[in-house]
């Protein structure tokens, strides 16, 4: 520096005024700027102060203060969150319309009066796409798909927020099942929304892994703001799920889209109730299998006894028939014998008109030759007898003669 005092200088205010003029000339209207929100602090006075920045290779290369006036703030925030489906907060990349303003006291500042949610949506989608590509390249996408749930998943680690409404629903539905199936639940508490959620869930996952002995690990969002789901697209969380040696089931519960966490998990369902059903169904299926086995055995035994009964029935029938027919035969035989006996009874013969002739010696006269003329003979009928004298004895053809009479 010279020893001569410079005579050509200006006041600070003048300098600032000239900068202000220069800037305001350079940016006379409003312009759209793409930047990341690096700080976000709505104030009690209604205005929102923030920092916008840009990073390259992980280093901040540009940063500027910005603000949203309270007369714009609520409307802008609501509009953005409804359209983009995520909260307006630090960490997201936005496209905002700004007025570049320079204050002689505070320096440069951007006044935001409009925001384009479609841009943020696109950025998020792009970011998500990049995450999926990285996971695919790393072989993480299908790691969990090789881990099947055991047939009876009973010991479950649940990562969720204790106060989440969905956790209560899940617990009730699972533990108060009508069939009385038994489960073990261990709760691992984690933040389920916001910027810190991924790290918190990763740490809970780690704890569950270290404890071990679980059939599955469940990640249950179970409520909270539907806007704040970006954490389930986080790369580190996805890797942590993918590399978990236990099957991970997610129930993040948002029907708008599938999250990266869902994609890398072994299974994913929408609601806490569906999550409980997944396990109840496995038990119900086993129960049905038992019923089927039981009825198979019962039916087989019944068939066996039915067959046996049939065999006995038939045997009994044949026996009865044999006995009956045997008895019948005996009866017939008896009748014949009786008939034979009856037939040989002399009285029966006599009743038919035959007679019994006895000679004078009282012996039966069996032939004409045995009779002598003049002999007194006895003739016996069935109802009595007569005495007679033989007048003539002739031999042969007597019967025919008698008949011709």
């Amino acid at each position: 520096m010279g020893t001569d005092m410079a005579t050509d200088y200006m006041d600070l205010l003048e300098l600032q005024q000239r900068i202000k003029e220069g800037i305001e000339d350079a940016f006379p209207g409003r312009i759209w700027v793409k930047a990341e929100i690096s700080q976000w602090s709505p104030r009690a006075n209604g205005h929102c102060y923030l920092s916008l920045s840009e990073s390259r290779d992980g280093r901040v290369v540009a940063e500027v203060r910005a603000m949203i006036w309270k007369w714009n703030y609520l409307q802008l925030k609501t509009f953005f969150e409804e359209a983009a489906g995520q909260p307006l907060q630090a960490g997201i990349t936005v496209l905002v319309r700004v007025e570049v303003s320079y204050s002689e006291l505070y320096g440069i500042s951007l006044f935001i009066d409009d925001i384009d949610p479609a841009f943020t949506l696109g950025e998020a989608a792009l970011e998500r796409k990049r995450t999926i590509e990285r996971l695919t390249a790393g072989g993480y996408m299908d790691m969990q798909k090789e881990l099947a749930l055991p047939p009876l998943p009973r010991r479950l680690a649940v990562i969720t927020s204790r106060t989440a409404a969905g956790y209560g629903d899940f617990r009730r539905h699972l533990l108060e099942n009508e069939a009385g199936y038994a489960f073990e639940l261990d709760l691992y508490e984690a933040l389920m929304q916001g910027e810190s959620a991924p790290a918190s869930i990763v740490s809970a996952l780690q704890q569950a892994r270290e404890r071990g002995g679980y059939d599955a690990v469940l990640i249950l969002r179970g409520g909270g703001s539907e806007l704040d789901l970006a954490c389930f697209d986080d790369y580190d969380l996805a890797v942590s799920i993918a590399t978990c040696p236990l099957p991970v089931v997610t129930a993040i519960g948002h029907d708008r889209d599938v999250h990266v966490a869902d994609m890398v998990a072994s299974r994913s369902v929408k609601t806490p109730t569906a999550l409980a059903d997944l396990f109840l169904d496995a038990f119900m299926e086993e129960d049905m299998r038992l019923d089927t086995l039981e009825s198979r055995i019962t039916m087989a035994v019944m068939r066996r006894y039915q067959t046996l009964e049939g065999i006995l029935d038939r045997a009994l029938y044949r026996l009865r028939f044999a006995v009956e027919s045997r008895l019948g035969k005996e009866e017939a035989l008896l009748k014949v014998k009786e008939a034979l006996i009856g037939a040989s009874d002399p009285r029966k013969i006599l009743s038919l008109g035959y007679v019994l002739v006895t000679g004078s010696d009282n012996k039966v006269l069996k032939s004409a030759r045995g009779a002598r003329v003049g002999e007194r003979i006895g003739v016996r009928f069935s109802d009595g007898a007569v005495r007679a004298r033989v007048e003539e004895v002739s031999e042969g053809q007597e019967i025919s003669r008698l008949r011709s009479k």
């Binding site: 533990l175 002995g213 038992l290 198979r296 055995i297 035994v301 066996r304 067959t307 046996l308």
Partner: protein, 66 residues
Amino acid sequence: MTVIMEEKFDYTKAIAELEEIAAKVENPETKLDEIDALVLRSKELLKGCREYLRGVKDKLDSLDQE
């Protein structure tokens, strides 16, 4: 802290044995006196399996009450 209990009852083995029993009972070659014993055993196994799906509930319920 949760202590995870190991059940003595081997469910998978029990199911395999039940399948075997069903096949035996269905086989007309199996003798009747054998069937009675098989049916008794199947009842035992079915009871065990059903208890396995439910039985230890009381013990498990206490685990989550921290």
